[in-house]
């Protein structure tokens, strides 16, 4: 059994679940202990949001939240490509986080007014958390961009490598139209100008610039992913796949 609301909840959940997994991979590798804690806390917020959305999705499907997380194959994951991109270095991770935080902050603010009370509740809480996340990630982007020659170069490399995954954040498809017309979802295209002004303001402070290459990749929302998601899921799902139904 599958429906529009279910599919919409899954895409919101998948963005957060996959980013949580990516950030979790980095715990114990951050440049300082405080950053390990920060990354762990941010990952936990994303995981919590994913958990609540999947619990809600599970009420409209025969599968439990855990089954949705741990048994769906790559092609059924509908997260944006940005969040599945691998951890390269600290600057890259903070850049990915910043680009995504700026998007999610606008998204949660919009969804706080959803006619669906559960989505509105989850979004209102997530918006508060996203405010902390973006303060952290933008602070680092400014420090790295406007830092040493090396940190500046690495931050710009990260912007250049990740920029190609940003159009997808605002690509409206039929499901987005249906859900926003129903008063439940938010039209991603409508979030773009706020995102651009947030991003440009921080890039300017960080002495960084948008990527000059216009090339863009999409496909995540329809299940066509970069090669990295399969590896991520391989690690995240292996236990339930090796021992189906295992609990402890």
């Amino acid at each position: 059994m599958s429906d529009d609301l279910f599919r919409y909840l899954l895409r919101l959940a998948d963005d957060n679940l996959i980013l949580a997994q990516r950030l979790s991979e980095y715990i114990s590798s951050a440049p300082e202990l405080e950053e390990d804690l920060a990354v762990a806390n941010i990952a936990l917020d994303h995981l919590g949001v994913a958990h609540h959305l999947l619990e809600y999705a599970a009420t409209r499907d025969g599968r439990s939240a855990d089954e949705l997380a741990f048994t769906r194959p790559e092609r059924e994951y509908t997260n944006v490509l940005l969040v599945e991109q691998p951890n390269v270095d600290f600057g890259h991770i903070m850049t990915r986080q910043f680009l995504f935080d700026a998007y999610q902050l606008g998204l949660w603010e919009a969804l706080s007014g959803s006619d669906d009370p559960t989505i509105a509740g989850i979004a209102a809480k997530a918006a508060k958390e996203a405010t902390y996340h973006i303060r952290h990630s933008s602070g680092w982007l400014i420090r790295l961009g406007d830092g040493s020659d090396v940190s500046h170069a690495r931050a710009q490399q990260a912007i250049d490598a990740l920029w190609r995954f940003t159009d997808e954040l605002f690509a409206t498809d039929d499901l987005d139209v249906t859900m926003s017309e129903a008063g439940i979802g938010a039209d991603p295209a409508g979030l773009r100008s706020l995102w651009e002004s947030r991003v440009d303001a921080i890039l300017a402070q960080a002495t960084l610039h948008r990527c000059n290459d216009p090339y863009q990749r999409t496909g995540g929302r329809t299940g066509y992913h970069t090669e990295h998601l399969g590896h991520l899921l391989g690690e995240m799902q292996w236990m339930q796949r090796a021992y189906p139904g295992l609990e402890w």
């Binding site: 804690l37 920060a38 936990l44 917020d45 994303h46 958990h51 902390y132 952290h136």
Partner: protein
């Protein structure tokens, strides 16, 4: 005879936050509502502090355990609306937190007081502390680090 709401709330004062054991779930505002049906069935509504708060499952089990021990059948439900805010913490709860060594939330425009020396000047070391709800600061007066329960 079914328990009254007041009796249930008194029992629930035993349920504390596992990470800040001086505060009950009522102190924190995690406990949103208690209802007792004529059948005696108890419904307890709780809300998470942060989306990923790992204590929530533990708290749910504690509520069931405490009420179960009193011979009550309870359903624990989670609500997200309205979103939890530190404004729900009352002055008594804030004093307990302060005494425990964690600077309580006092509103954004009010100075954060060092729980040790009452100094008003401190420096933010990390926005994300030992748990999602706390930030780590260092007092400029006594030089000691302390946790601050963030205003959200």
């Amino acid at each position: 005879m079914p328990a009254t709401e007041t009796q249930v709330r008194a029992l629930l004062d035993e349920v504390v936050d596992p990470e800040i054991p001086v505060l009950t779930i009522a102190d924190l505002g995690i406990l949103r509502d208690v209802a007792v049906a004529t059948s005696g069935e108890v419904t307890v509504i709780i809300t998470p502090t942060y989306s990923g708060c790992p204590a929530l499952d533990h708290i749910r089990r504690e509520i069931e355990r405490v009420l179960g021990a009193a011979g009550l059948t309870a359903t624990v439900a989670t609500t997200f609306r309205p979103a939890w805010t530190t404004e729900w913490m009352d002055d008594a709860a804030k004093r307990k937190l302060d005494k425990y060594g964690i600077a309580p939330p006092r509103g954004r425009d009010v100075p954060i007081l060092c729980p040790r020396c009452r100094g008003e000047e401190s420096r933010l070391v990390a926005e994300f502390g030992s748990t999602a709800c706390k930030a780590l600061r260092v007092c400029s007066g006594c030089g000691e680090p302390f946790d601050h329960f963030k205003d959200i």
